[in-house]
C-alpha cells in the first residue's frame, strides 16, 4: 500500500520531469520568441507576413493538437517515426520528451513574440530619435536603450504566460511523457488511490507561488527608477 511518503516520492519524480520541461521550454522559447518578434517587424513585407501567419496558426490552434502533430505526424505522413530517429538511440521516453519540448517551445515562442512585439512597439519614437542624435547605431540603440525598457514593460504579461506554462506542462502526459499528473493517474490506475491526483495541486501551487514571488521581486527591482 502507498504511504504519504512513497506517493510524495513518486510525484516528486514526476515533478522533476515537469520542471525540466518547464525550464527547457523557457530557455529555448525566450530567445526564439525574441527572434520571432524581430522577424515580425522587419521591413521585408513577405517575411513579415509569413512570420505573422505562422504566429497566427500556432496561437490559433490548441497546444494539445500541436503535441499530437509533433509526435504522430512524422510516422504517419513521412514514414519516419519520431521514436526511431537515430538521435534518440531507441530511447522512447526521451524521444517523446523532446517531441513535447519542441511543441512547447514553438507554441510559447509565438506567445512570447507577441508580448515582445507589444513591448518594443510601446517605446516612444522620441527614444529612437534621441539615440540617432547621439550617433548610436541601430544595434546599439536596440540592445543598450530599447531592450532594457522592453524588459521592464513585459514583466507582467510574461509572468502571466510563465505561470500558465507551469500548468500547461500537464498536457505532455497525452504523448506519454511521465510528468507529475501522469504519475498520479498511474497510481490511481494501478492501486485505485485517488488523493495523489489532488495532491499534485500542491506541487503546482507551491511552484507557482515561487514564480509569483520571483516576478514580484523583478518587477519591484526594475521599477526602481520609474515614476
Amino acid at each position: 500500500m502507498e504511504t504519504f511518503l512513497s506517493v510524495s516520492g513518486k510525484l516528486a519524480q514526476g515533478f522533476g520531469t515537469t520542471l525540466s520541461l518547464f525550464f527547457l521550454t523557457l530557455l529555448f522559447a525566450i530567445p526564439l520568441g525574441l527572434l520571432f518578434a524581430c522577424i515580425s517587424r522587419v521591413r521585408l513585407k513577405a517575411l513579415r507576413f509569413l512570420m505573422r501567419a505562422f504566429i497566427y496558426i500556432i496561437r490559433g490552434t490548441p497546444l494539445l493538437l500541436q503535441l499530437m502533430i509533433v509526435v504522430y505526424l512524422p510516422g504517419i505522413v513521412f514514414n519516419n517515426p519520431l521514436t526511431k530517429w537515430p538521435v534518440f538511440k531507441g530511447n522512447v521516453p526521451l524521444s517523446y520528451f523532446c517531441g513535447a519540448l519542441f511543441a512547447f517551445v514553438i507554441n510559447y515562442a509565438c506567445y512570447f513574440a507577441e508580448i515582445f512585439r507589444g513591448g518594443i512597439e510601446n517605446i516612444p519614437k522620441g527614444q529612437y530619435e534621441a539615440c540617432e542624435v547621439l550617433g548610436m547605431s541601430h544595434s546599439q540603440t536596440f540592445f543598450r536603450v530599447i531592450l532594457l525598457q522592453v524588459i521592464r514593460n513585459i514583466v507582467a504579461p510574461m509572468s502571466n504566460e510563465v505561470v500558465t506554462l507551469v500548468k500547461d506542462t500537464a498536457l505532455a502526459r497525452t504523448v506519454s511523457v511521465v510528468e507529475i499528473y501522469f504519475a498520479a493517474s498511474e497510481i490511481l490506475r494501478l492501486q485505485f488511490i485517488i488523493w495523489p491526483l489532488f495532491y499534485t495541486g500542491a506541487f503546482y501551487l507551491g511552484f507557482s507561488a515561487l514564480l509569483t514571488l520571483l516576478f514580484g521581486m523583478i518587477e519591484k527591482r526594475l521599477s526602481r527608477y520609474w515614476r
Binding site: 505526424l73 514514414n79 521514436t83 526511431k84 531507441g90 522512447v92 506519454s176 498511474e186 494501478l190 485505485f192
Partner: protein, 278 residues
C-alpha cells in the same frame, strides 16, 4: 473603520455558512441511513439501475441511428429486465470509476471490467462472464519480422498504463526485456503504433478485433499464436451490495438457458465466453 466593517462581514459570512452546514447536515445522514440497509431496495425504489460505462466496441457503443448497443449494453438490458428495473447508461471517466461508484453516482461498473485483486478493495465482483484475452498487434508490414515472443524481445512495446496488456508485458519472461512505454489509452497505443512509434502493442482482444483492419487501422494486424496472461471480465458493484447476489443468480440462469451464449455469438465472442464459464 473600513476594516471593522469587513471583519464583521466576514464573520457573518462564516456564521451563515456554518449555520447552513449545521441545518443541512442531518438530512443526508438520515438519507444514507435508510439507503445503506439494502443497495438493491434503493435501486428498485428508483426503478432504475445506473450503469457506468465508457463508449467502446464491442461492449457499449453507438450503432445504427445512434442507438447505444453492444454486448454489455444488451447483457445489462436483459439482466435489468429480469430484475424489474430500467437500465440507465451513464458514460464515465474510466479513471474515476471507483469514485463514481463510491459516491453513488452510478450503481455498477459494467463495461468490460477486468477482475483484479487490488480492485476488490473498492468493489464486489459478480461471476465472470468473458475472458479478457490479451493480444499483440503490429503493423502488417512487419508481419514477417514479428511472429513470436522471442522476436519481440528487443522491440519497442506499448500498452495502456495500468491495463491487463501492461501486466501481460511486464509479467512475461520474454516480453519484459523489451523496451516498454505506457500509453494513456488503448486508442493512443493504436495511433502511436500506426504512426510507427512502436513496433507492437498489447491490447484487449475484443478491442483489437473491432479496430484492427478497418479505417485508418487497416494496416495493422493481430499476431496469432502468442499466448499471454489473460484476465477475466465481471460486473463491479459497491462493496457489500446485495445486488451482486441477485445479478449472479440471473447470470447463472442466463448461462443455463443459453441466452448469454447466444449474445456472445452475436458479437463474435463465443470463444471468450466459453473460456470464462467452462
Amino acid at each position: 473603520m473600513k476594516k471593522k466593517i469587513l471583519t464583521a462581514l466576514a464573520l457573518t459570512g462564516i456564521f451563515a455558512f456554518s449555520a447552513c452546514t449545521k441545518t443541512e447536515a442531518p438530512a443526508p445522514a438520515a438519507a444514507s441511513n435508510t439507503r445503506s440497509e439494502s443497495d438493491f431496495e434503493d435501486i428498485s425504489a428508483k426503478g432504475k439501475m445506473v450503469i457506468g460505462i465508457t463508449i467502446y466496441e464491442p461492449m457499449n457503443y453507438y450503432g445504427e441511428n445512434h442507438v447505444l448497443t453492444g454486448f454489455d449494453t444488451e447483457f445489462a438490458g436483459e439482466v435489468c429486465q429480469r430484475l424489474g428495473v430500467e437500465p440507465e447508461f451513464q458514460v464515465i471517466d474510466w479513471d474515476m470509476k471507483e469514485t463514481e461508484l463510491k459516491s453513488k453516482n452510478i450503481d455498477c461498473i459494467w463495461n468490460g471490467l477486468t477482475v483484479t485483486e487490488e480492485r476488490r478493495a473498492n468493489m464486489d465482483f459478480t461471476t465472470t462472464y468473458l475472458v479478457n484475452k490479451q493480444c499483440v498487434v503490429i503493423n502488417s508490414a512487419n508481419a514477417s519480422t514479428y511472429t513470436d515472443k522471442a522476436s519481440l524481445a528487443s522491440a519497442m512495446l506499448s500498452a495502456e498504463s495500468g491495463s491487463a496488456g501492461e501486466s501481460a508485458i511486464t509479467g512475461d519472461d520474454t516480453l519484459s526485456s523489451a523496451s516498454y512505454t505506457a500509453s494513456n489509452s488503448q486508442q493512443d497505443a493504436l495511433v502511436a503504433l500506426n504512426a510507427g512509434n512502436y513496433d507492437a502493442i498489447v491490447i484487449d482482444y475484443t478491442m483489437a478485433k473491432a479496430s484492427v483492419g478497418s479505417g485508418d487501422f487497416a494496416s495493422l494486424q493481430i499476431v496469432d499464436g502468442i499466448e499471454l496472461a489473460n484476465e477475466e471480465y465481471a460486473i463491479g458493484f459497491r462493496v457489500g451490495s446485495d445486488t451482486t447476489a441477485k445479478v449472479n443468480s440471473i447470470i447463472s440462469d442466463m448461462i443455463k438457458d443459453g441466452s448469454l451464449a447466444e449474445l456472445a455469438d452475436k458479437y463474435d465472442m463465443k470463444e471468450l465466453y466459453e473460456q470464462a464459464v467452462k
